[in-house]
């Protein structure tokens, strides 16, 4: 069985930052593996540990810098990685969902996995759409926002028995035929920390670069229909009463508020 995990290196913005034009300066950005993808990688690795002969391949769209992040997925147990990048992609400010699905779709067609695991969404642009669009692009089945996957039925029966996390503490129990794309919700497992041994081993694992040409795609694929025309900090709507002073003074006034509201006695 082959499991493909889509991963993305995302930028987190520091508390204090500046916007120039429609971008945030790189000095205010910290790059890391997308939180949701961390859970997707863990789910793939757990399948590999539970089954015989399960290969886990990580695939990403990202510049050379992202190899550091991708190597974390390898250190946690993915067997190898594919990194899609091209000068034509570099020029695009915000890739649209269709483009991402086509780029990843070309890799899936080469790799021919039984199961694709994808994070529900990315911390940075929060589209929450790539996995389902990818499934539709490929003619795979899918399930979105999965917070439980039955390992046995996937490995033995070719059916993904999943729970989808709906709103308000309700879960939907669904069976999905393979091949399928599952979008993985945080909390589905406990992502491991990479061991020193894992980190060492990851150094010798393959990260295969793929250009548009390698994937048989032409540059027209990456033309984005999205144009970011403005970026700004949201207006603060706070009319909170701020409690000032040192921690002791703040605690004292807060205690008064709590007594005043009648939720704590003397």
């Amino acid at each position: 069985m082959k499991v493909l995990v889509t991963v993305k290196e995302v930028a987190a913005v520091e508390d204090d930052f500046e916007i120039s034009g429609t971008e945030i300066g790189s000095t205010y950005l910290d790059y890391d593996l997308n939180e949701w993808d961390d859970y997707a990688v863990e789910e793939g690795v757990q399948l590999a540990e539970a089954g015989d002969d399960v290969e886990v391949v990580a695939v990403t769209i990202g510049p050379e810098r992202s190899e550091e992040t991708i190597r974390m997925a390898l250190a946690k147990g993915a067997d190898r990685a594919v990194r899609v990048w091209d000068d034509a992609i570099e020029d695009v400010e915000l890739l649209d969902v269709e483009t991402k699905a086509q780029l990843l779709g070309a890799v899936v067609e080469e790799e021919d996995p039984d199961l694709v695991l994808s994070g529900v969404q990315a911390n940075d642009d929060s589209f929450g759409a790539t996995g389902v669009a990818l499934a539709e692009e490929l003619g795979f089945q899918w399930a979105a926002v999965v917070n439980d996957l039955d390992t046995e039925t996937v490995l033995d029966e070719g059916v993904a028995s999943v729970r989808r996390e709906l709103e308000g503490g309700v879960e939907e129990l669904t069976d999905v035929q393979l091949p399928a794309v599952l979008t993985i919700q945080t909390g589905i497992n406990e992502p491991r920390y990479a061991s020193l041994r894992g980190i060492r081993q990851a150094q010798s694992k393959e990260i295969a670069p793929k250009s548009l040409d390698d994937l048989g795609l032409d540059a027209g694929v990456v033309e984005s229909s999205l144009d970011v025309t403005a970026m700004y900090e949201p207006e603060t709507e706070s009319d909170a009463e701020y409690i000032e002073g040192d921690a002791g003074e703040q605690a004292g006034q807060l205690a008064d508020v709590l007594r005043d509201k009648g939720v704590v006695g003397e």
């Binding site: 913005v13 930052f17 916007i19 429609t22 649209d96 969902v97 269709e98 911390n123 940075d124 929060s126 929450g128 759409a129 389902v132 669009a133 539709e136 089945q141 899918w142 399930a143 979105a144 926002v145 989808r164 996390e165 709906l166 709103e167 503490g169 309700v170 879960e171 939907e172 129990l173 669904t174 069976d175 999905v176 035929q177 399928a180 945080t186 229909s225 999205l226 144009d227 970011v228 025309t229 970026m231 700004y232 900090e233 949201p234 603060t236 709507e237 909170a240 009463e241 701020y242 921690a247 002791g248 703040q250 605690a251 807060l254 205690a255 508020v257 709590l258 509201k261 939720v263 704590v264």
Partner: protein, 322 residues
């Protein structure tokens, strides 16, 4: 050219966002000079269609097929409706079920997809306002090529009200059952257990700011000293530090206590959805720009590891050393 808004329902009831969708849809229809069509797929379509007939809606289409949401059915139904109505804009909620079918509709019908809109404008092109980087910035995104599928965030538009004079009709879709590759077997309520945080009148709620599981002891001591009930934001439950029945937010519980004390919680939209109904909201956070202050009545900008021990002492308790 029309606007098509597709309602969300679950277990016999339309979800609130369905009516907000009608407001967003009406605004867009006005801007584009066209009609607003609402649609409901599966479930008790007759009563749902009646309920969707609110002010500003021109047509309501009911697609009868099964009871509950199935994405394969929805994709086929919305594809057929969008084509039949020549819908330039398909609007859906950015809900868990929206996430499960809207991108597939866009891909199948060659539409441009934009998710999680918090505002929409249409002049010659569609302009979508959406957040990035965990709500730290807002962006305006110009979307060049229609037709479009756009998902909208809940609680950003007011719900459509009143009774409209829409034409209500059924719409027959010949669902290809062979293309339905997923089966919904049922639902389960999660997060039961010893405590119902929805019953509490004073919640002390903890978020990512607690940093380590061991530090929870500090917040437990505060809850014990003050007689509060302990709850949390999502990351604490994801980490397995507290059980699911303590989680406040969109995927957890909705709570309406007299006082909600949010400690180390930034106030992401999913969390706020679960606690904005509290009478008094107090926030303690190190980041003065945290969105939690937008809905807080009282704010303390400071380090929880300094403020919480002092607060425990205020009420005669003994803060643990963490």
């Amino acid at each position: 050219m029309t606007v098509l808004a597709v309602a969300d329902h679950r277990r016999g009831a339309l979800r609130d966002v369905s009516f907000e969708l009608l407001t967003a849809g009406r605004e867009l229809a006005d801007a584009a000079g066209t009609d607003l069509h609402a649609a409901v797929v599966s479930g008790d379509t007759e009563s749902f269609a009646d309920d969707l007939n609110r002010e500003g809606v021109d047509h309501v289409h009911a697609v009868e097929h099964g009871e509950e949401f199935n994405h394969d059915v929805y994709v086929q139904a919305v594809e057929a409706l969008a084509e039949d109505l020549d819908a330039e804009f398909v609007l859906v909620p950015n809900s868990v079920n929206g996430l499960d079918y809207a991108p597939a509709v866009a891909t199948r019908t060659g539409r441009t997809y934009v998710s999680d809109a918090i505002d929409l404008a249409h002049n010659d092109t569609l302009e979508v306002t959406r957040e990035m980087y965990g709500s730290k910035v807002e962006t305006t995104v110009e979307v060049a090529d229609g037709p479009y599928v756009v998902s909208i965030r809940g609680a950003e538009w007011p719900a459509a009200e009143g009774v409209g004079d829409a034409e209500v009709s059924t719409f027959d879709v010949d669902v290809d059952e062979d293309a339905v590759g997923s089966t919904v077997n049922g639902f389960e309520e999660v997060g039961g257990g010893d405590v119902d945080i929805a019953d509490a009148n004073f919640l002390v709620s903890i978020g990512r700011g607690i940093e380590e599981e061991e530090n929870l002891e500090l917040i437990e001591a505060l809850a014990e000293t003050t007689g509060a009930t302990l709850s949390s934001s999502r990351p604490i439950v994801d980490n397995g530090w507290l059980p699911k029945n303590r989680q406040v937010g969109q995927s957890g519980k909705q709570v309406t206590p007299d006082v909600y004390l949010a400690i180390g919680i930034s106030g992401a939209v999913q969390h706020v959805a679960g606690m904005k109904g509290a009478d008094t909201i107090i926030a303690i956070n190190t980041d003065p720009n945290a969105p939690i202050y937008d809905i807080a009545d009282y704010g303390i900008v400071g380090d929880l590891f300094d403020v919480v021990p002092a607060l425990i002492e205020e009420f005669g308790g003994e803060p643990p050393s963490v």
